[in-house]
Amino acid sequence: MEETKWEPKVVGFLCHWCSYAGADLSGSARLEYPHNIRIIRIPCSGRVDPMFILRALQNGVDGVIVSGCHPGDCHYQSGNFHARRKFAVIRRLLDYVGIEPERVQFSWVAASEGPKMAQVINEFVEGVRKVGPNRLFKDERRDGE
């Protein structure tokens, strides 16, 4: 069988009020960002439950990026400040159990920052490409998992 080249598949949880619009803007400006990302729109970065990240990884995506409004710009005032605390511990915990830090990223991107969004996604996908396919939750003792 012909070998198909592996391409990373990543999920992006992007805040409706900023990063999602940022990604939209980079699209309308015809800036290119890799098609490796599947974007899920969320109402606020504060909506992100660590479960989203872990389940995505468990279901086999190679990376997860979460992006919200810059501190001070959250549509709900403090969603991203609360999220920031959560993200800090999530990161430390995932690292501690041995999940490569390159697979999970957090960023702040505003609605006006189309180019930044494209760049962030680019860099993230490249980082994930370097660490390789996510086999963390694979179980070689069983087929097809």
């Binding site: 609360h82 920031r84 800090a88 915990l93 501690y96 159990v97």
Partner: protein, 316 residues
């Protein structure tokens, strides 16, 4: 201490200051103690305080939904304070009977040290800094420090931080962090792949008894995410993947509330080193937000507020 406790507990019940006394009684297995919850004065005779009082009783006030006179050690007091911070327990509804604690004996450690099963041990006696263990008719000594739980070795708050009655004299802390955190340091020094395989192996053993969450004083949700079926976050049957995800989420839920009482690990029937997860987060929360769970009943719980200066160098 024991007599003083019986006396104080009796007074509380008699004067109608509390509905229940929550303390320790003799366990069904040798040496061990188990929670004693009673509203009858005559049962107070069975209260004990000894080096085996391992249980953290602080979740009972939530379950009893009554005024409770409760016996706490240093670490337990932090769990209770944490519950007060989270408004799960009213300070006015509890009368705290504090026990200054030098460490709780881990019977498993004794078994390991002397190479005998608990059934063969006839007596464990404390003599100063040592324990004399009589097994199969012969005596062996063991230093007290070698017989207590790892968490006790690093205890910074041996005297309860909040109490109405202190049943003994204050004890000054002598934490030996290096010993207490040894396993965590070992894990930190492994590389990521080895760490992952380590946890994967450990969680392959998990049978999802939920002992860890049922015993945990910081796990107080009325409906745990594990029981939610729309959406069903985690499969209810035990695969190592789901077991691990379950525990990671639980770890995050109790981060900032966990006071390293070690009950999760003690309750685990298959011996997963859960404290190595929870205690690690205690360290991280302290490092990130300069916050310690359950040391100040008036402090805001760490994840209910934020500071402008919170670390964010990891956010791109």
């Amino acid at each position: 201490m024991e007599n003083r406790l019986k006396e104080e507990a009796g007074k509380l019940l008699k004067e109608g200051k509390v509905d229940y006394i929550v303390g320790y009684g003799k366990g069904s297995v040798k040496f061990r103690t188990s929670p004693l919850i009673t509203n009858k004065e005559e049962e107070l005779e069975n209260l004990v305080i000894n080096p085996f009082i391992a249980n953290n009783l602080s979740r009972y006030p939530i379950e009893l939904k009554a005024r409770v006179g409760i016996v706490v050690k240093g670490c337990d007091s932090r769990s209770l304070i944490s519950l007060i911070q989270d408004k799960k327990v009213n300070r006015e509804d509890v009368v705290i009977l504090g026990v200054p604690c030098e460490g709780v004996v881990d019977i498993k450690k004794i078994e390991k040290h002397i190479g005998k099963d608990i059934d063969q041990i006839e007596e464990i006696k404390r003599e100063g800094e040592n324990l004399t263990i009589q097994a199969n008719g012969s005596n062996q000594t063991l230093s007290f420090k070698d017989a207590i739980f790892d968490k006790c070795l690093g205890c910074e708050y041996p005297t309860p931080l909040e109490y109405d009655v202190l049943l003994g004299t204050e004890i000054s802390p002598k934490p030996d962090m290096e010993k207490s955190l040894m396993r965590i340091k070992e894990l930190e020094n492994m590389d990521a792949t080895d760490r992952w395989s380590y946890w994967r192996e450990e969680f392959s053993k998990c049978i999802r008894c939920y002992g860890c969450k049922n015993v945990c004083p910081a796990c107080f949700c009325e409906r745990c995410f594990i029981d939610v079926n729309i959406p069903q976050w985690v499969n209810t049957y035990a695969t190592w993947q789901d077991n691990l995800v379950f525990q990671l989420i639980r770890t995050l839920h109790v981060a900032g509330r966990c006071s390293d009482c070690g009950e999760c690990e003690r309750a685990c029937p298959v011996g997963i080193p859960l404290r190595s997860l929870q205690r690690k987060m205690v360290e991280e929360v302290k490092d990130l937000f300069d916050y310690e769970a359950g040391v100040d009943k008036d402090a805001l719980p760490v994840f209910t507020h934020y500071e402008d200066t919170d670390p964010e160098e990891f956010i791109k």
